[in-house]
C-alpha cells in the first residue's frame, strides 16, 4: 500500500491519498496489532509543531492503542520565541523609518510590550509575508525606509532567509536588514534527553522515541538524527505531515520496538535523503554561524541551537545596527510549558490552561500558535474514541 504512494506527488494527492480514510484505518489496525507485542508502553515525541497540529486536527490520538502515547515537542518556531526577542521585533517595528516583515503567526504573539499586531495598531508598519523573498519587493518599493525581516523557523526556512540575503547583496540593496532567530532541531532534542533534575529521579524525561519532521530533513538530511539511536538508544522515524504519513511513521516506530531494533528510518521517502539538500546547506554556511547559546521559551538556554549572521554581513544585521535590550525576561511563574515539552505533564494538567492562558491571551509558549501543544488541545479538544 505504501509503496504505491511513492509516485509523483501532486497537491490533489494530499487530500486523496494522504488523507485516505481507508489507509488511515488500515494503519490504525496494524499499529494496534504490533503494539500488542510490546512489553511496556512507549512515549513518542513528535518534535515538530506541524506534527502536533496534524495529530490533533485529525484526531489521531483517538486511533492509537493505550500503550502508544505522544509527548508534544518544542518544534514550533513561534512558540519557542522568548519574550525578549519578540520585544526586539516590537522595538524595531516602532522605529519611524522601519517596515518590519515577518511570517504568519509571529504577528499575534505578545512580548512584554505587546504583539506586532499591537504595534501596528499603534502606528507601526508591520507586514506579513508568505515567503522571505517577498521582502525583496517591499524593500525595492520603499527605498527610503529600512525594511527589516524578522526571520524565524527551523532548518526548513533558514535557506530561504539566506537566499534573501544573497539576493539583497547581489542587487546592492542597502535598506534591507535581517533579525535572525533561526533555530535547529537536533540540539533541542539532545537538551530534552539530557536535561534532568539531579535531585528528583522522577523528573527524568519520558521520551522513548522521536518522530522527526520531514521538511527539516529535506534540507538537513536524515543523518542529523543518527546520534539518537547510537548514543541515546532512541529510535527516530522521519515522517511527513499528512495523517497517513504520521500513522505510518508511528507504525514504523512501533515495529522497531516490537522487533528490538533502534535506528533512523525515513517514512517520507518522497523527498528525504540521508545527506539532504547540499546546496541549501552551503547557503546556510555561507551566511550564518551558530550562536554559543540561544534561549528557548519554556526550556531556557540551549548551546549551539540557533544561527546568527556571520561577522562579514554585520551591515545587514539589525541586531547589531540597533540597540536592543539584552536582559532576559522570565516565563510566567504558573506556566508549566517546560514540563509539557519534556513530557512531564499534559496541557490539561496546567492550572491556567484554558482559563488565564488561552490562544487569545497566551501566558506560555505552548499556547501561542496553532502548532503549540496547548493551543492544539484548546482548539481541537481531545475527544474520546467514538463508540459505534
Amino acid at each position: 500500500m505504501i509503496a504505491a504512494l511513492e509516485a509523483r506527488v501532486e497537491l490533489r494527492d494530499l487530500y486523496d491519498r494522504f488523507r485516505d480514510p481507508k489507509a488511515i484505518r488500515a494503519l490504525a489496525k496494524e499499529i494496534e496489532r504490533e503494539a500488542q507485542k510490546l512489553s511496556k508502553p512507549i512515549n513518542i515525541m513528535e518534535v515538530c509543531g506541524g506534527h502536533t497540529h496534524t495529530i490533533m486536527k485529525y484526531g489521531l490520538l483517538q486511533l492509537l492503542p493505550e500503550n502508544i502515547r505522544f509527548i508534544h515537542g518544542p518544534g514550533c518556531p513561534v512558540c519557542i520565541m522568548p519574550k525578549e526577542r519578540i520585544d526586539h521585533a516590537y522595538i524595531l517595528a516602532m522605529q519611524d523609518d522601519v517596515i518590519l516583515c515577518t511570517l504568519g503567526d509571529m504577528i499575534k504573539v505578545p512580548g512584554s510590550r505587546g504583539s506586532l499586531q499591537d504595534a501596528r495598531s499603534r502606528g507601526a508598519d508591520v507586514r506579513f509575508v508568505y515567503s522571505p523573498l517577498d521582502v525583496l519587493k517591499i524593500a525595492r518599493e520603499n527605498p527610503n525606509k529600512k525594511v527589516i525581516f524578522f526571520a524565524i523557523g527551523f532548518e526548513t526556512t533558514t535557506p530561504m532567509t539566506a537566499a534573501l540575503l544573497q539576493k539583497a547583496i547581489e542587487e546592492g540593496m542597502e535598506n534591507l536588514l535581517l533579525h535572525i532567530n533561526h533555530v535547529t532541531v537536533p540540539e533541542v532534542m539532545r537538551e530534552l534527553i539530557d536535561s534532568r533534575d539531579e535531585h528528583i529521579d522522577s523528573y527524568n524525561n519520558q521520551i522513548d522515541a522521536f518522530l522527526g519532521p520531514s521538511h527539516v530533513s529535506v534540507i538537513a538530511g536524515s543523518k542529523i538524527y543518527e546520534e539518537f539511536p547510537a548514543r541515546y538508544g532512541r529510535p527516530v522515524v522521519v515522517a511527513g505531515f499528512e495523517p497517513v504519513d504520521v500513522m505510518e511513521g508511528v507504525l514504523m516506530l512501533v515495529r522497531q520496538f516490537a522487533e528490538g531494533r533502534c535506528e533512523v528510518e525515513v517514512q517520507y521517502r518522497r523527498s528525504v535523503t540521508r545527506e539532504g539538500n547540499k546546496k541549501a546547506q552551503e547557503l546556510i554556511d555561507r551566511y550564518f554561524v551558530k550562536r554559543e547559546l540561544f534561549k528557548w521559551r519554556g526550556l531556557g538556554n540551549i548551546p549551539k541551537s540557533a544561527w546568527r549572521l556571520r561577522e562579514e554581513f554585520s551591515a545587514y544585521d539589525a541586531e547589531r545596527i540597533y540597540t536592543l535590550p539584552k536582559e532576559e525576561i522570565e516565563d510566567h511563574k504558573l506556566c508549566i510549558c517546560g514540563d509539557i515539552l519534556r513530557g512531564m505533564a499534559k496541557p490539561t494538567e496546567c492550572q491556567v490552561f484554558g482559563t488565564a492562558c488561552t490562544p487569545a491571551k497566551p501566558l506560555g509558549s505552548c499556547m501561542v500558535s496553532s502548532e503549540g501543544a496547548c493551543a492544539a488541545y484548546y482548539k481541537y479538544g481531545n475527544l474520546l474514541k467514538e463508540v459505534e
Binding site: 497537491l11 494530499l14 484505518r25 490533533m56 508568505y130 475527544l383 467514538e386
Partner: protein, 329 residues
C-alpha cells in the same frame, strides 16, 4: 462628460446632478427615484425587516462578481435568511477621485442585474467623491428593507434537527485571496457570490426551516458556532459531507486555511426539522448540486461544534479568530 470621476461630481451642484441623472439613473432609474425627493415615502408595508452593510472589497472585480453584485446580493441575502422578501434598497457610493466611469458603469450594470433577480428597487441613494488616496477606488453602503413571509430564527433550533449546507464552501474567500496574492491556478476559482432569494422563496413554498444563515465572514465555522452558543446545543458535522472545490482546497493547503473558516457570499447553512430534511435537500440540489445534509443537532457537547472525520475520529471546530483576511466584502 469626463471619463473619470472628478471631485466636482460630488459637489452637490451641476456636475453632481449630471452624474446622478446621466449615469446612475440610466441604469437604476425607477418611478420612485425619478421624484428626486430628500426622502422616500414607502407606503404601507407588512412585517418589516431592515438590514445594512458596507462593502470595501478589493479587488473590486473578481471572478464570479464585483462590488456591485456583492452589495445587492449581500444586503438582500441578509433579508432572505430571515425569511424576508427584499423590497427597497438604499445605495451610497464613496468614490475616489479619478475612478473610471467605465468601471463605474460596469458596477451599476451588475447592481441592476442583481436587483432584477431579487425583484427589488433602489429607492434612495447618495454619492460622495473623496480626494485621491482617501479611499481605495470605491466603497458602497447599502441598506435594505424587506417583508417577512416566514418566521425563522436561531431560537427555533431544536435537538434532533438536521443541518444542511446549500453548496460547496469557501469559494468567495479563496477567490479573493487568489486574486489578491496573484496566485495562478489551473482552474480559476469563481466566487459563490449570488442572490439567495430565489432558492429561499422556493424553500418557503414547501416548508418552514427553523433557521438559515449565510456563511459570510468567518465561514461555515462561524455560523455553526454562533448557533451552538445561542442554543447551547451541539452541532455534529460529518466533515466529508461538506464539499470543497479542488482549487479552493489547494489554496487552503498552500496558505494553511481551513475551508470552514473562509467566507462565502452565496452559500448558507440551514436547520430543519427531521421530517423536512429530504424535501429541503431536493430543493437545494435543484439550485446547486453540491448541496448536502451535513449533520445533526444533539446535546452531546453543549455550545460546541464537533467535526467527525471519515476515519472515525472527532474534534472540535472552533470559532475563527484573528485576522484571516480583511476587505473581503
Amino acid at each position: 462628460m469626463n471619463k473619470t470621476i472628478t471631485l466636482a461630481m460630488g459637489n452637490g451642484g451641476v456636475e453632481n446632478s449630471e452624474l446622478i441623472q446621466k449615469v446612475i439613473y440610466r441604469h437604476l432609474g425607477n418611478d420612485i427615484l425619478a421624484k428626486a425627493e430628500d426622502a422616500t415615502p414607502l407606503g404601507a408595508l407588512q412585517n418589516l425587516c431592515f438590514t445594512t452593510d458596507s462593502f470595501t472589497v478589493t479587488p473590486l472585480f473578481f471572478k464570479g462578481g464585483d462590488i456591485g453584485k456583492l452589495s445587492v446580493a449581500g444586503a438582500c441575502n441578509d433579508l432572505a435568511m430571515m425569511g424576508a422578501k427584499p423590497k427597497f434598497l438604499s445605495l451610497s457610493f464613496i468614490i475616489e477621485e479619478g475612478f473610471g466611469l467605465r468601471e463605474f458603469e460596469k458596477i451599476l450594470r451588475s447592481i441592476k442585474k442583481e436587483l432584477t433577480l431579487n425583484e427589488a428597487k433602489v429607492v434612495t441613494g447618495d454619492t460622495k467623491v473623496v480626494p485621491r488616496g482617501s479611499c481605495d477606488g470605491l466603497y458602497i453602503n447599502m441598506s435594505a428593507i424587506g417583508e417577512r413571509v416566514a418566521d425563522m430564527s436561531q431560537n427555533r433550533i431544536q435537538k434532533g434537527d438536521v443541518l444542511l449546507l446549500s453548496g460547496d464552501m469557501a469559494r468567495h474567500g479563496a477567490a479573493i485571496f487568489a486574486a489578491r496574492e496573484g496566485i495562478e491556478l489551473e482552474n480559476e476559482i469563481e466566487s459563490d457570490c449570488k442572490s439567495l432569494w430565489p432558492v429561499v422563496e422556493e424553500l418557503l413554498g414547501n416548508l418552514t426551516p427553523r433557521a438559515m444563515r449565510d456563511a459570510t465572514r468567518g465561514g461555515v465555522a462561524a455560523v455553526l458556532n454562533e448557533w451552538a452558543m445561542a442554543t447551547n446545543l451541539c452541532m455534529e458535522i460529518q466533515e466529508q459531507n461538506c464539499s470543497v472545490d479542488e482549487s479552493v482546497q489547494g489554496i487552503c493547503e498552500i496558505l494553511g486555511f481551513e475551508p470552514f473558516m473562509l467566507a462565502n457570499e452565496g452559500t448558507f447553512v440551514m436547520a430543519v426539522a427531521p421530517k423536512d430534511a429530504d424535501v429541503a435537500l431536493e430543493i437545494l440540489r435543484r439550485h446547486n448540486d453540491k448541496a448536502a445534509i451535513i449533520g445533526r443537532i444533539s446535546d452531546s457537547y453543549p455550545g460546541r461544534v464537533v467535526l467527525k472525520s471519515s476515519w472515525g475520529t472527532r474534534r472540535f471546530l472552533d470559532m475563527p479568530s484573528g485576522e484571516i483576511l480583511p476587505r473581503i466584502c
